[in-house]
């Protein structure tokens, strides 16, 4: 959040001094504030010359092409903000503008030195506040901004680890009219944005290769390498290769994409609170193979939610006993619990004095002029000149939107001043800064937008390290002044110039992975759960898509009598297997297409295509760090493909096209699982899910067919099609489908990869490989259950069935299907109880 700036409409506009036809020629920044590209005379600034020259031949259309390419890449990468923020699961795509923010070499060095100092200073302050509190007793800081700050955690008092409390600091910087970078806010808990910054660079490097070298842009890879090293060096003790995990609130969190992306890039497991447990004041990761000791936790969970035993009892994002494990010095949390207290803007006016007192240095980075209203004299001074100020809340976590007094209407102003009078401690006044502007593409035109640069500094083993880049966000409209992602802003890549071109490519290099000395981290149980359901949802989706496709093909076909009957059959199957609501009296005459449409278009229907694709993506996102980039891209494409076609354009042919693409996408996903995944427990659980679901779906269809009574023959062609076994049957029997041979092929034929027998044999083989050290009985129970299913299947014999009266044989088949179905459901429950048990604990 930045202070409002004066309306641009009042300002004169500066025309750009560029050759005619240059894409910048239409750009008109307002006078009176700093523009990143043009100086006061409209001349391109020196930092921008290389870029402006390199792109001098580009038209708006060229830029548009790049934008489209960028949007496609971001979609493929599943880059979102606010994933699954509502029940409908609408994820907002991440937005990136093609034009970056450029930061010159000299000014970056200055900012970096300032950020390094700020990190040292805030750490010194935290050490005092959570220790001797001399700064409060001796009057360096008003006690109220610490003791009255909801971010001050008494539970963190007195703990003193080896690592600094604040290991990663994010600073929101803005450039004032004088061109100097100024601090607007500190992010000291779990600063977000580094992962998005990396994603922005990755995407831009793809669509704009070469430009980084031409402009001498500093790469980001080194910084992340330093971070990886720093995280390992913060491990409390050297026990060989330390285990570092990234603790995320989970896929419902607004920045989950970044958590998964970062964990994957740094090569650390992505975990949630339920994956961790504290035993003997040490933190362990619960994996399928047993408990694995954790040394360092990168925390993306707010500190008050980190330990239900000592902090908020109603929050389940953390792990009971974590605060005590920190005190014992057995684990390092980055950032430490309680660091959020220094995010308060009320601290700003005291920092220059504290910097002299604690570090013996002058504060290097300018800050937005700020006063804490808990001080009487300052409050009176602010109220005497009230139109100069923006009133903001002093402490995080208080719901209050900043109010610019000069622009607020009378009732708002009165309400704010009343609140300030009643509780002055909770507010600060900040002088609005005229944020700098930057050209930004909007609907094919360049517009000036306000910007804020979030820079990052890290406490490295050899002193502070500043990321040569960061996350730049721009205001939503030209006059807009509120810059935050919560308001649907747009982001930009941030280029720090001055890179020696010989130092290699500027795109981030993939991390060098050295196989650790210790065994791999293991699969967290919760992730195994998600992989299992990813498998089930993938199969379920394919099943529904095949059913709808069969129906549509017959609907769109030649409308022969046979096709009409088969259409009835497929609709009946859809009804029986619960995907399609049974028709009421009024629906009996409705065209099949109208009845099928909700299965493709209703985002709320639980068993319809859009919802299944979304669940598949949800499970995949929770196991994101186990999937290859290609698999993840495919999952995102499937999710996009499942988005309903515009009803006006949804002809049967268009819908069939969509369904065919989905089938192909699902086949590609299954192929990647088969060809690209390591045969570990992650893969095993994914396949367990697939096999269980596929067997269940097949049995359900066969059971329905067997119960069809008089007319099983009409069921058989669609059934073979649904089970993808048409060719196999033709090759084996060279005849029109008959009931018992079809059942034999789909249920008992071990060589048919679509048959029940095939799935059950697979289960029997793979359950023998399940991890065992979770209990004395281990995975034997799953193996026994799978073997029992196989022996139940052996009662299905073509010979004996053929000898029976047809009605009795059908009855027998239906019974076998039903009992195997029940058995599989119990098998799934057994797995769940054994491996995925994460019931919520209770606090008392």
């Amino acid at each position: 959040m930045s202070p409002p700036a004066a309306d641009l409409a009042d300002s004169a506009l500066i025309p750009a001094v560029v050759p005619p036809g240059h894409w910048l020629s239409g750009y008109r920044p307002p006078a009176g504030c700093w523009d990143e590209v043009l100086d006061d005379g409209g001349t391109v600034r020196p930092e921008w010359r290389a870029l402006a020259d390199a792109t001098s031949g580009w038209s708006a259309v060229d830029w548009g092409r790049r934008r489209e390419e960028m949007a496609r890449l971001l979609r493929d990468h599943g880059a979102t903000y606010n994933v699954y923020s509502d029940a409908r699961g609408v994820a907002r795509p991440w937005q990136l503008d093609a034009l970056p923010l450029l930061v010159g070499h000299g000014e970056f060095e200055e900012v970096a030195a300032g950020l390094g100092q700020r990190l040292r200073l805030l750490n010194a302050i935290l050490d005092d506040w959570y220790g001797p509190q001399r700064l409060l007793r001796d009057g360096w800081v008003p006690p109220s901004i610490v003791l009255g700050n909801p971010g001050y955690l008494r539970e963190a008092w007195g703990s003193d680890g080896r690592a600094p409390r604040l290991m990663m600091l994010g600073c929101d910087l803005a450039r004032g009219p004088d061109g100097r970078w100024t601090v607007l806010a500190d992010r000291a808990q779990a600063p977000s944005g580094k992962g998005y910054a990396l994603e922005n660079r990755t995407v831009l490097a793809r669509v704009w290769p070469g430009i980084f070298r031409d402009c001498g842009v500093r790469p980001l890879a080194d910084f992340f390498e330093t971070q990886r090293e720093a995280l390992r060096s913060w491990a409390p003790s050297m026990r060989g290769e330390p285990m570092v995990v990234l603790l995320s609130p989970g896929p419902f969190n607004e920045t989950y994409f970044e958590h998964a992306f970062k964990a994957r890039y740094l090569g650390f497991p992505l975990v949630e609170g339920a994956d961790l447990t504290v035993r003997d004041r040490r933190v362990y990761l619960k994996t399928l193979e047993g408990l694995r000791r954790v040394d360092v936790i990168i925390r993306r969970v707010d500190d008050v939610c980190c330990d239900p035993l000592e902090l908020r009892a109603d929050a389940w994002l953390g792990v009971a006993g974590l605060a005590e494990a920190c005190r014992a010095g057995h684990v390092t949390v980055a950032n430490a619990l309680g660091t959020g207290v220094v995010e308060t803007a009320a601290l700003f006016p005291f920092l220059p004095g504290l910097c002299r007192h604690l570090l013996g240095e002058e504060l290097r980075l300018p800050q937005a002029t700020t006063w804490w209203l808990g001080q009487r004299a300052e409050r009176q001074a602010v109220l005497a000149e009230r139109d100069r100020w923006v009133i903001k809340n002093a402490f995080v976590g208080q719901p209050f939107d900043p109010v610019f007094l000069a622009q607020a209407d009378e009732p708002t102003k009165r309400a704010v001043l009343e609140r300030v009078a009643a509780d002055p401690d909770s507010f600060v006044a900040q002088e609005p800064l005229r944020l700098s502007t930057m050209p930004t593409w909007h609907e094919g035109r360049l517009e000036p937008r306000r910007l804020v640069w979030r820079a990052f500094v890290l406490a490295g083993p050899e002193g502070p390290q500043v990321m040569p880049g960061g996350l730049t966000r721009v205001s939503r409209d030209a006059a807009g002044s509120v810059v935050t992602m919560q308001y649907g802003g747009l982001s930009k890549d941030t280029w720090v110039l001055g890179h020696e071109p010989d130092c290699g490519p500027s795109a981030p290099a993939p991390p060098v992975v050295i196989r650790p000395a210790r065994p791999a981290a293991g699969v967290p149980s919760r992730q195994a759960d998600h992989l299992f359901w990813m498998g089930r949802h993938a199969e379920r989706l394919e099943h529904v898509v095949r059913l709808v496709r069969s129906a549509l093909r017959r609907h769109a076909g030649e409308k022969t009598g046979q096709q009409a009957t088969e259409l009835e059959v497929v609709l009946h199957l859809l009804e029986r297997t619960r995907e399609l609501p049974r028709p009421g009296r009024e629906e009996a005459g409705r065209p099949a297409l109208d009845r099928l449409r909700p299965l493709l278009a209703d985002p709320g229907a639980p068993d319809a295509v859009p919802a299944l694709a979304r669940r598949l993506r949800f499970n995949a996102s929770a196991a994101r760090d186990r999937l290859s980039d290609d698999m993840w891209r495919l999952v995102n494409r499937l999710d996009t493909l499942a988005v309903p076609v515009d009803p006006g354009l949804a002809t049967p042919a268009a819908l069939l096209d969509q369904l065919d693409s989905l089938i192909l996408g699902l086949a590609a996903l299954a192929g990647m699982e088969a060809e690209n995944m390591t045969r570990g427990h992650g893969w095993r659980f994914l396949q367990l899910g697939r096999r269980v679901e596929r067997a269940l779906n097949g049995l359900e269809l066969c059971g329905e067919t067997a119960r069809a009574g008089e007319r099983p023959s009409a069921f058989l062609p669609p059934l073979l099609e649904l089970c993808d076994s048409v060719m196999t049957y033709r090759r084996l029997y060279v005849a029109a489908p008959q009931f018992l041979p079809v059942m034999d092929l789909l249920i008992a034929d071990e060589s048919n990869p679509r048959s029940t027998a095939f799935q059950l044999h697979w289960l029997a083989r793979q359950t023998a490989q399940l991890p065992r050290d979770t209990g004395p009985a281990g995975s034997l129970r799953e193996k026994e259950a799978a073997d029992q299913l196989l022996s139940a299947l052996s009662s299905f014999s073509l010979q004996s069935l053929a000898a029976m009266d047809p009605a009795a044989a059908a009855q027998r088949v239906a019974a076998v299907c039903q009992s195997l179905g029940h058995g599989l459901e119990s098998f799934s429950e057994l797995l769940t109880a054994h491996y995925f048990n994460h019931a919520l604990p209770k606090v008392r």
């Binding site: 007793r137 109220s144 009255g148 035993r279 005190r327 001080q375 019931a839 008392r844």
Partner: protein, 292 residues
């Protein structure tokens, strides 16, 4: 006065619990007028780890973990405590309450810096205009703080009904205030809320109460469980003065102090996180015996 105190807590779980984490705050504090020559906590089953800690308020606590299946958890704290009645303060000698508000503003001006902490909203008790209005009837302008607080103490005692079923540990202070009912925790929270609403620093004190009256003395209210009352900062000279709104008195030698904090959450005697199905059955018993 000397006391032998036994505080027993028993959890019975529906199904065996394997892993659980707990923090107990059961050890009486050492104070100018109180000493605790002997104290022990017996935990069954024997925990895999137990670690003492002195928290940010100076309270003693014990962290412990269970790691083997059990269906019952029993925590028994036994303490010998010697209490002298603190000298009865002269309420009229306390500073005017407005001066105390000024001295504990915590805005950087000189004053009683560290008492400031207890003037802010805490998770369970924050300032509120209704509480302030109720409190102002006692806090007339210029009145000595302790005199006004003793009057508030008396009014809460009179206006509120002690009712063990009206509230539970999670009842918000305003609910208790509106229904004018509750137990000692609610009485204390209401009074703290009143004092903080005026800008005065007030803290929550947990401890025990001798409920069996010595001959010739009145029986005090507080049942056989932990007790709670309030402490008000009355300036550097008088320091913190305790008030018990449940009994309308200033604690003497029949109150045993265990811990203090901003509200109940800072001092809850036994808190735990268990991975268990169903609600456990909880039994708490406190026995405070005079030994001489």
């Amino acid at each position: 006065m000397r006391y032998h105190i036994v505080h027993r807590t028993l959890y019975t779980y529906e199904r065996p619990v394997t892993v659980s984490h707990h923090r107990a705050r059961l050890g009486p504090r050492a104070l100018p007028h109180q000493s605790c020559p002997w104290h022990e906590i017996d935990i069954q089953p024997e925990p895999v780890v137990r670690v003492p800690r002195v928290d940010a308020y100076g309270n003693q606590s014990v962290y412990f973990e269970q790691a083997a299946p059990h269906t019952q958890l029993e925590v028994v704290a036994r303490s010998y405590v010697e209490v002298e009645a603190p000298p009865a303060p002269d309420p009229a000698s306390a500073p005017r309450w407005e001066d105390l508000v000024e001295a504990t503003r915590g805005d950087g001006a000189a004053g009683a810096v560290m008492a400031t902490e207890f003037r802010f909203a805490s998770p369970l008790v924050g300032p509120d205009e209704r509480l302030a209005a109720y409190a102002r009837k006692s806090f007339e302008p210029g009145r000595p703080a302790l005199e006004a607080a003793a009057d508030l103490n008396r009014r809460i005692f009179t206006d509120f009904t002690f009712d063990p079923v009206a509230t539970d540990v999670a009842t918000p202070v305003l609910t208790a205030f509106d229904q004018r009912r509750g137990v000692c925790q609610d009485f204390a929270h209401v009074m703290i809320g009143c004092l903080r609403s005026l800008g005065l620093p007030a803290r929550y004190v947990s401890g025990y109460l001798e409920t069996e009256p010595p001959p010739g003395q009145e029986k005090l209210v507080g049942a056989d469980a932990s007790h709670a009352w309030v402490s008000l900062f009355c300036g550097e000279e008088l320091g913190w003065i305790d008030l018990d709104p449940t009994n309308n008195l200033l604690p003497g030698d029949r109150h045993i102090t265990v811990a203090w904090g901003r509200d109940f959450l800072d001092v809850s005697p036994l808190r735990g996180v268990t991975w268990a199905a169903g609600e456990p059955w909880l039994l708490v018993g406190v026995d405070v015996r005079r030994t001489g």
